[in-house]
């Protein structure tokens, strides 16, 4: 049973537009969420996090929104750049331990 789901395996967006990546979770105990970006042949790199006490966190071009009642979070990238093309993973945890990762969404930003 997948506790963290990313239902879109891939997403293509035009450069300069907004990219929206979605993530759903089933475990209501999750209280801390991370987004990671992964390039081929590299390890995942941290992008942005959000605690369940917040519903939004912003860092430059990246914003994460959390809807606890819907058990849903999303990552917005504005504006999208070709260098953002990568696989994005959503991860969830209870008290920052034992992160559970989603299957990832491959983002392609087209010039």
């Amino acid at each position: 049973d997948q506790q963290v789901k990313q239902n879109s395996p891939s997403l293509s967006v035009q450069e300069g537009r907004i990219s929206i990546l979605n993530c759903d979770y089933t475990n209501s105990m999750f209280d801390y969420f991370l987004w990671y970006k992964k390039y081929p042949a590299e390890g995942p790199t941290f992008l942005i996090s959000i605690s369940s006490i917040k519903d939004k966190n912003e860092d430059g071009r990246f914003t994460v929104f959390l809807n606890k009642s819907a058990k849903h979070l999303s990552l917005h990238i504005v504006p999208s750049q070709p260098g953002d093309s990568a696989v994005y993973f959503c991860a969830a945890s209870v008290r920052g331990q034992n992160f559970v990762f989603g299957p990832g969404t491959r983002l392609s930003v087209l010039p």
Partner: protein, 113 residues
């Protein structure tokens, strides 16, 4: 500051052979994780260490997998004997206690023939 270092980056072995992966976490990071990543999937937790203690190894297939973290710093993950289905990327990650963010190494890609 050096990141999480893993070796080897790539390993090709025949089935039934043993293999070992090594991880050096970021200095001062008490918590160390080993994750397994299959192609097209997200990382899956194998084991979590707090200092030298394995506090969660419930997902580690103990019949063939073993891990250790001597002196609470470097860690080794071993598979013996390897099976075809073990072909994957083995990721090591570390974090300072209660900061939340995981720092990953580049991973060790295993191919079992």
């Amino acid at each position: 500051e050096a990141g999480v270092v893993q070796s080897p980056r790539y390993k090709i072995i025949e089935k039934k052979q043993p293999v070992a992966f090594w991880c050096n976490p970021i200095s001062g990071h008490n918590t160390l994780y080993w994750y397994l990543q299959n192609l097209g999937q997200g990382p899956e937790l194998l084991i979590r260490y707090e200092n030298e203690e394995a506090v969660d190894d419930s997902q580690l297939p103990k019949d063939r997998f073993s891990a250790e973290r001597l002196k609470g710093v470097d860690s080794t993950l071993k598979i013996q004997p390897a099976e075809l289905g073990d072909s994957a990327v083995y990721l090591c990650a570390s974090t300072a206690t209660n900061t939340g963010e995981l720092f990953f190494g580049e991973g060790s890609r295993l191919t079992v023939l």
